[in-house]
């Protein structure tokens, strides 16, 4: 960045400063700690200067927003043009209850929906399955068939709203239901906008709602890529997620490295299935976490954007700029919330919101203050949404694009995270790619090691968590937490019995037999799944057909 002469002067000036001012100051009053570290445990220097970014070529590495390598954002005007989508993840109990919450959120200024499904739905069991006992409607809404989906989106204009669905193994089934609901409302698939998470690799790594073995899961995913590129062209077919990797305890650099390694595996699988990289890559999207170390997080998003652009261009030979742009959703970090003094969580979420916005996120979910204790109440969700609105309209950080660019620290940190993430990707390449690295337990072990180190640092007090290991007070048990009606399971079971009486059972079994045949062959499964859901085949029935043909994933248990 500097010519040699200027650079020499700079070094000289720094030496002077260290010898005179700094040493004097240190001898008078030493620093608070011997070593300062980021939230991820990486060393932070006392001072960053142009020296730290002198190797960085502005045009190649930083550049302009909307231009390769997109360090500064994928779009030239960013939040001056349009604010991010304020998308609150919600869902619990029955479709009726969740529908009410969605309407509340839209009323309060939420600009996109985000559906949380309960665990049986996420693992492809109907509510009457023995393993669903006690779990129905708990962490999200229970969806057993198209009938539930019709209720879930009742009165919501699917042509106007964009909908994100946190669904992975059975993503094809829920997407098919969404297409079918839209069809009944007279909205054609090419008008639908939204995202399915559809990221199985991080389920194996960190989140746990897998069903099928790796290869069959990858087939389902590439089938969706292909089907959507032809039929649902505005749909984001996958949300490659670092969020859960970070929640499981990874560092920021691991979050980027492991997530992009998963991304590489999906691109490779789709190319192997015969798809042209530019036909599906523009619809890949990402999902990252936002933790408390503001500047480290900002650097993380910038590093992820730059590294993905380089990977798509150099490794996969993508031609379309859209294929190289990393677009991402952010959620504030659930694991950073404390059950102690829960009001403090509002402040944490505000810092994390700033991180996501300064990092150029496309959409954001902000957690509510009570989420270390239960699902959030309406009141606490409103504060979380207001936090985004305050950052958007009052903080001023949206007025200029990528405002932290050029900060010696943020640029140096961006480069450091990019380099570290690339080291993880290289290591994973050596192990044969992400699916193999997961089977070998490499990624899981790296994350658990980082999580354990953090836990021990918290317990030793080296890491301060306000209200939890420092600044504690005696507290009463929090009141007014959200409770899910324990009768939800029974209500869903009753609905299933009625459904099976009402629907054309012969048509259902025909469609399921056709799906089974397709599973045994190599055809794209999406059209068969769409046909089956239209006849009100249940989620469990469809997933069972695939279980029968594909088998189930065996977790490699690692400590």
């Amino acid at each position: 960045m500097f010519d040699n002469e200027k650079f020499k002067q700079l070094k000289e000036a720094r030496r002077n400063w260290e010898e005179k001012d700094l040493n004097k100051s240190l001898s008078r009053s030493p620093e608070r700690k011997e070593e300062f570290k980021t939230g991820s445990g990486d060393k932070v220097e006392r001072l960053y200067t142009p020296e730290d970014i002198n190797d960085l070529d502005f045009m190649d590495e930083i550049g302009f927003p909307g231009q390769y390598p997109y360090t500064r954002g994928y779009q030239p005007t960013m939040f001056r043009g349009r604010l991010w989508t304020m998308r609150m993840y919600a869902g619990f109990s029955t479709a009726e209850e969740s529908n009410k919450r969605y309407k509340f959120l839209v009323d309060q200024g939420s600009t996109g929906l985000s559906v949380a499904f309960d665990l049986p739905t996420q693992i492809g069991y109907d509510s009457d399955h023995p393993l669903a006992e006690g779990e129905v409607g708990k962490v999200g809404v229970a969806i057993d068939s198209l009938a539930d989906m019709e209720i879930l989106f009742d009165g919501i204009d699917l042509e106007k709203v964009s909908t994100s669905m946190t669904i992975n193994s059975p993503a094809s089934v829920l997407l098919a239901m969404y297409i079918a609901v839209a069809d009944k409302k007279g909205v054609s698939p090419e008008k639908l906008r939204g995202t399915i998470q559809n990221d199985i690799l991080k389920e194996y790594i960190a989140r746990g709602t897998y069903i099928y073995p790796t290869e069959e899961s990858m087939r389902l995913i590439t089938d969706i890529f292909e089907y959507c590129s032809k039929n649902v062209p505005q749909w984001n077919t996958i949300s490659i997620s670092g969020y859960h990797i970070r929640e499981a305890g990874s560092t920021a650099a691991q979050e980027v490295g492991f997530t992009l390694a998963d991304g590489i595996a999906y691109v490779e699988a789709a190319i192997k299935a015969g798809l042209d990289v530019d036909s599906f890559a523009p619809r890949l999207s990402f999902f990252f976490n936002a933790h408390n170390d503001l500047l480290e997080e900002v650097a993380k998003y910038r590093a992820a954007r730059r590294l993905w652009a380089k990977i798509m261009k150099e490794r996969f030979g993508a031609k379309k700029p859209q294929s190289m742009m990393l677009k991402f959703h952010t959620q504030t970090g659930g694991s950073t919330l404390t059950a102690q003094q829960p009001d403090n969580n509002i402040v944490r979420v505000a810092i994390q919101t700033l991180a996501a916005v300064l990092g150029g996120t496309q959409s954001l979910h902000t957690n509510s203050k009570d989420e270390a204790l239960a699902l959030p109440t309406e009141d606490s969700v409103r504060i979380a949404l207001r936090t985004q609105q305050i950052v958007a309209h009052e903080s001023g950080v949206t007025n200029t694009v990528d405002p932290l660019a050029g900060s010696y620290y943020v640029e140096a940190k961006t480069k450091e995270i990019e380099d570290k993430a690339m080291e993880y990707i290289t290591k994973i390449d050596e192990l044969g790619g992400a699916p193999r690295a997961i089977d070998a337990g490499y990624i899981q072990k790296e994350i658990t090691d980082a999580a354990y180190k953090y836990q021990m640092d918290v317990e030793k007090g080296d890491v301060v968590v306000v209200g939890m290991n420092k600044f504690k007070v005696a507290e009463k048990a929090p009141q007014g937490l959200l409770k899910v009606d324990p009768m939800v399971g029974e209500m869903q079971k009753k609905k299933l019995v009625e459904l099976k009486e009402k629907r054309d059972n012969e048509a259902v079994s025909e469609k399921l037999i056709a799906l089974k045949k397709a599973c045994e062959g190599t055809e794209n499964l999406m059209p068969y799944i769409v046909e089956a859901v239209r006849e009100y085949a249940t989620l469990g029935e469809i997933c069972d057909v695939m279980r029968e043909v594909f088998g189930e994933y065996e977790q490699s248990v690692m400590l």
């Binding site: 665990l119 006690g134 746990g208 929640e247 404390t338 658990t448 248990v557």
Partner: protein
């Protein structure tokens, strides 16, 4: 010398949040206990069978999905049925304060909620496991 305390760390139900369970498992191991970790999605039947087969002194379960009121008592019921009530059960996760009295009534010896230190848990086990 006493033989080490044996612990089964288990994830009952469909919940995939295993960070807590893994942290506890490692901390107990580092504290000199013998730890068997089940991995995800264990039914109460599987947990009780593993506990008996592995001859553990204590079962530690973690649930963050809200299914605790159903699953913890079920494990304890099965232990009773199989005359294995001497195996102590402790639990952790996102367990609302209001639910704790009933779970203790059902026989859960201790419940550790977010913010609990691994050292507290180690100490509790050392103090309470009957040998």
């Amino acid at each position: 010398m006493d033989k080490p305390i044996r612990v089964l760390v288990a994830k009952p139900g469909l919940d995939g949040h295993d960070r807590g369970a893994k942290m506890i498992a490692r901390a107990l191991r580092d504290a000199g206990m013998e730890v068997i970790y089940t991995g995800l999605r264990q039914t109460p039947e599987q947990i009780v069978a593993a506990a008996i087969q592995e001859d553990v002194d204590i079962i530690g379960m973690s649930i963050l999905s809200g299914a605790h009121n159903h699953l913890f008592p079920k494990v304890i019921g099965l232990l009773k049925e199989q005359d294995a009530e001497d195996i102590m059960v402790i639990a952790g996760g996102v367990i609302p304060e209001d639910d704790i009295p009933a779970l203790k009534e059902a026989g859960v010896a201790a419940i550790f909620t977010p913010g609990a230190l691994t050292t507290e848990i180690v100490q509790f086990i050392r103090d309470n496991v009957k040998r």
